[in-house]
Symmetry: C2
Subunit: 243 residues, 2 copies
């Protein structure tokens, strides 16, 4: 059939997504300057040849990201980049290893300090939860989905123990992205033999946090993440105490 009319926007995606993409491009490229007003919803609907409903859903997405500020009775305005409320890392970005290296680098920075803070601030309850995830991981012989979940829960729990919700949010985000790309790339197969190494590193981190030794916890976490990176084929440069 002649779906060519849709070719103008694309084919498989839904209409709101296409509208979002087009508006996003206009904003990003500077065609729509910050502070300027968007056309009326009705005008946009006419312009793109879709219903006002579609425009509204598109604007809802842009508004969720903080790119647009819609005020009832006035109009929708482009907000500056400095006002964006969301940060986005596209899945495709993580496919090649050089990006994985950068992400692991960021992860080491965040989690090393998270471990340092957690060692000082953790409550007894925090320690209990961290230990719980550790024991869950130790129970497994092979490196499988359950192990990955326990591994990540361990890291998230440490981030939570800092008492800093932002650190917890950022660490969770990064960990989950890494988990997803590992799952995606099927990198788990050659790692079965190394699960004991991973557990040993976790034990070391847990012990340092339990002891309240901030420096030891930081060093253990830094080493662990460098090791984890190496295990998926990413080499990190030396950090801390390396001069």
């Amino acid at each position: 059939m002649l779906r060519n009319r849709a070719t103008e926007l694309g084919s498989s995606e839904k209409l709101p997504s296409k509208v979002v993409a087009l508006l996003y491009r206009d904003i990003d490229s500077g065609t729509l300057l910050p502070g300027s007003r968007l056309p009326t919803e009705q005008q946009l609907a006419d312009q793109f040849g879709v219903s006002r409903n579609v425009i509204r859903e598109a604007i809802a997405q842009l508004r969720a990201d903080g790119l647009i500020d819609a005020r009832q009775g006035v109009g929708a305005f482009v907000r500056g980049k400095e006002q964006r409320a969301a940060i986005r890392i596209d899945r495709e970005d993580l496919n090649d290893l050089s990006n994985m290296e950068r992400l692991f680098e960021l992860r080491r920075i965040l989690e090393t300090e998270a471990a340092r803070l957690a060692a000082v601030r953790r409550t007894a309850h925090d320690l209990h939860l961290i230990g719980q995830h550790l024991r869950r991981m130790m129970g497994e012989e092979r490196w499988q989905d359950g192990s990955i979940d326990a591994d990540l829960a361990f890291h998230r729990e440490i981030a939570r123990a800092t008492g800093n919700t932002y650190i917890h949010t950022f660490v969770s985000f990064i960990c989950n992205r890494i988990r997803h790309s590992i799952h995606y790339a099927r990198l788990t197969n050659p790692l079965h033999d190394l699960v004991t190494v991973n557990v040993a590193e976790h034990v070391r981190i847990h012990a340092a946090i339990e002891a309240g030794d901030a420096e030891a916890a930081a060093q253990a976490m830094s080493d662990h993440i460098a090791g984890a990176a190496a295990r998926v084929g990413v080499k990190l440069v030396k950090q801390e105490s390396g001069g």
Copy 2:
């Protein structure tokens, strides 16, 4: 009446935002497990007492964040946390100082390490750009909008000089959020006298990066952010070399 239904959910916010908040909470708390299917749009509309259109806009936002995967003819499904594509910090979260303290803490962690990496990796061009923003800041006598922009550009440029796009993205995000909340809270007034202090700290950072001294750059940045936090009424605990 329609008023009563709105009262049930709150008053000032728009309906889709409230629906998003409620669904988000259910997903985050585990009431809605990953993989499970949401009620149909019509059922949700009845349940919340709003129109299906509102539900659709809410789902559009959640879908943009990767929390929900809606498939035509099938239904909407909760996606696992590992598939989330965006991280969000609501504007309201930054209003009180305790949250600002947490955000500054995270900022110090990231930017301290960014400075450390930048000192080693920066190219001559990076250094030139960093210096440019510094000189732009030195040219101003008072603390005004231009100063803030130059200040942030300075920090962003350092993050960029790490060569790690993720660090740059995260640092930019945090800086911009802080700038926004500073602008919002009108915290700039009592700071006019302190601009020279701020510039002096920037000079110290720049000098360390220019010299390629990673440790000095990290220490300078850490001190600077602690100082900047103090200037907006946030006190950070000691970090690094403080014991």
